[in-house]
């Protein structure tokens, strides 16, 4: 039998999902809820949900009359003559309700709203392999795996039940039957079969605002791809004139002042692919973000690396050009001129502002590669 509270809860979830769906573009654009609830949950503010509440009257002003009264005397407040100062506000109040939603649900909503096709894995997709996990306890086993606490507890329990336990002299002597041993179980675990390589230009011309755009877009891309694969690996590369692999934290919070040489990032990317990710077994996704302000003579080297060493190994290579305050990025045009429609794994997108993130994600992931 379904309890009323369950029905209410279910209906509430439907309303919340509906609201998220309605406002998804706004949530995608603004990255403030990202990372607020750890790895598996995000917290989304829903100002549109108004929680019922009491509204108090005006204490001590008017109300129930006492005594005879005079003709024409008001019996309630609000009869003052003349126009008052100011008008009622036209904006919604500040009732912000935050709801927690799992990344899986969020990915599903994102996929539905953006009409993203399911990704078709290649190679040995969904490979699983047995991993040993020490999750159980047995009565037999090697001494090296003896579980001391469990053994002690068993011995204590036995001595108490036999009446041989003396609180004044609490000696616990385990016998053979008391001994307990850690034991393992084989758990099939998915083997990572997809890798995302993020590359970001952190040169002097990339501002904090541009990096925030990259962070927000990467979060949604990550959310979607993680919903499509059981295991996924992520690698991060930053570059100015030189490039290096870094952790996620460094990726989003580094600013350098060097010049922009995209070929440096491509070189690191190509090396990673060559040494770690056989394209026959791995689904490879590359996402590169830059303001496109590459130092002119570097374009030729970059294009050669991309054409010969990266694109042939990728399911998808996405280049997002985030517009700099100077709008001087030319690399997008260089890519389009060099490749045109030649490479269907290459997708480009111009991200002029935060508002363009939504459409950019659709451009990148709309191919279902």
């Amino acid at each position: 039998m379904v309890m009323k509270i369950d029905r209410d809860s279910s209906r509430f979830k439907q309303i919340v999902r509906g609201k998220i769906r309605e406002n998804l573009r706004k949530y995608v654009t603004h990255g403030e809820m990202i990372g607020r609830k750890g790895k598996d949950l995000v917290s989304i503010p829903l100002p549109q949900l108004d929680v019922p509440h009491f509204r108090y009257g005006q204490n001590g002003r008017g109300g129930v009359g006492q005594g005879e009264g005079e003709p024409g005397q008001p019996i309630a407040a609000g009869d003052d003559e003349g126009d008052g100062q100011g008008k009622a506000g036209g904006d919604p109040g500040q009732h912000v309700l935050e709801v927690d939603i799992s990344l899986e649900e969020l990915a599903a909503i994102l996929g539905d709203e953006l009409e993203l096709p399911r990704i078709e894995p290649k190679g040995k997709a969904n490979i699983t392999q047995d991993k040993v996990r020490y999750t159980s306890v047995r009565r037999v086993g090697p001494e090296s795996l003896r579980h001391f606490r469990r053994t002690y507890v068993e011995a204590l329990r036995r001595q108490v039940s036999e009446g041989t336990y003396r609180p004044a002299d609490p000696k616990i002597i385990p016998i053979k039957e008391d001994r307990r041993y850690r034991s393992w179980e084989s758990v099939p675990e998915p083997v990572a079969n997809a890798v995302i390589l993020y590359m970001m230009d952190v040169s002097g011309s990339m501002t904090d605002e541009q990096k925030e755009i990259v962070r927000t877009e990467s979060f949604w891309i990550d959310t979607w791809l993680r919903s499509q694969y059981d295991g996924i690996e992520r690698r991060y590369i930053i570059h100015d004139a030189a490039a290096k692999e870094v952790d996620e934290q460094t990726f989003y919070h580094t600013r350098e002042s060097g010049g922009t040489r995209i070929s440096a990032a491509y070189k690191v990317c190509a090396d990673l692919l060559k040494n770690h990710y056989d394209p026959a077994e791995w689904n490879v996704y590359c996402f590169q973000f830059s303001d496109g302000d590459n130092w002119g003579e570097d374009n030729k080297t970059s294009l050669a690396l991309l054409r010969e060493q990266i694109l042939p190994k990728c399911n998808l290579f996405c280049y997002g050009q985030v517009e700099s305050p100077y709008g001087s990025g030319e690399f997008l045009r260089v890519l389009e001129e060099a490749f045109g429609d030649e490479h269907e794994v290459l997708v480009t997108s111009e991200i002029e502002s935060k508002e363009a993130i939504y459409d950019s994600i659709k451009t990148f992931l709309g191919k279902g590669k």
Binding site: D240, Y326, G327
Partner: protein
């Protein structure tokens, strides 16, 4: 003659040629050049202002950074302040730009100053219109400002 007087003389020459021409002034340490597209009694418009000098032939990025810092501190009379944006060790170049760029109705415009080993100082003005690649636009300055720019370029290199 001083650099300022040389520039004034060249401006007078180019004005007499319908305001179009190449300004060239030799200095003790190099050569000052400007591609002018308009000159009148008060002001002028140039597409590029270059100072070429051998004094930067063996400079390091650190030297160029120091030079660009000194120069951008002097160039406080342009429409926007200029500051260093990127340093490229490979090509030994410092890139300075207006910070922030000027936002106009037709797009964003800004100065770009490149300080290169070799050596060269190059000042140009760019306009970036929405949906278009950036393009060089003439920088409009008074005659006095152009002369001062020339003097500061020469003075910064020493």
């Amino acid at each position: 003659m001083t650099t300022k007087q040389d520039i004034a003389r060249e401006l007078a020459r180019i004005q007499s040629q319908n305001g179009l021409g190449r300004l060239e002034v030799d200095t003790p340490s190099g050569k000052l050049e400007a591609q002018l597209v308009a000159v009148d009694a008060i002001g002028c418009a140039f597409e590029s202002l270059t100072y070429k000098t051998d004094k930067l032939a063996t400079s390091t990025v650190k030297d160029l950074k120091k030079l660009s810092d000194a120069l951008t501190a002097k160039l406080n009379y342009l429409m926007e302040p200029i500051s260093a944006v990127e340093f490229d060790a490979d090509s030994c170049t410092v890139q300075c730009r207006s910070n922030p760029p000027q936002q106009g109705e037709d797009g964003r415009s800004y100065y770009e100053l490149l300080v290169r080993k070799g050596g060269e100082l190059l000042l140009s003005r760019y306009l970036k219109q929405p949906g278009q690649p950036r393009q060089v636009v003439p920088a409009q300055v008074t005659r006095e400002v152009l002369a001062r720019l020339g003097e500061d370029f020469v003075g910064a290199v020493g």
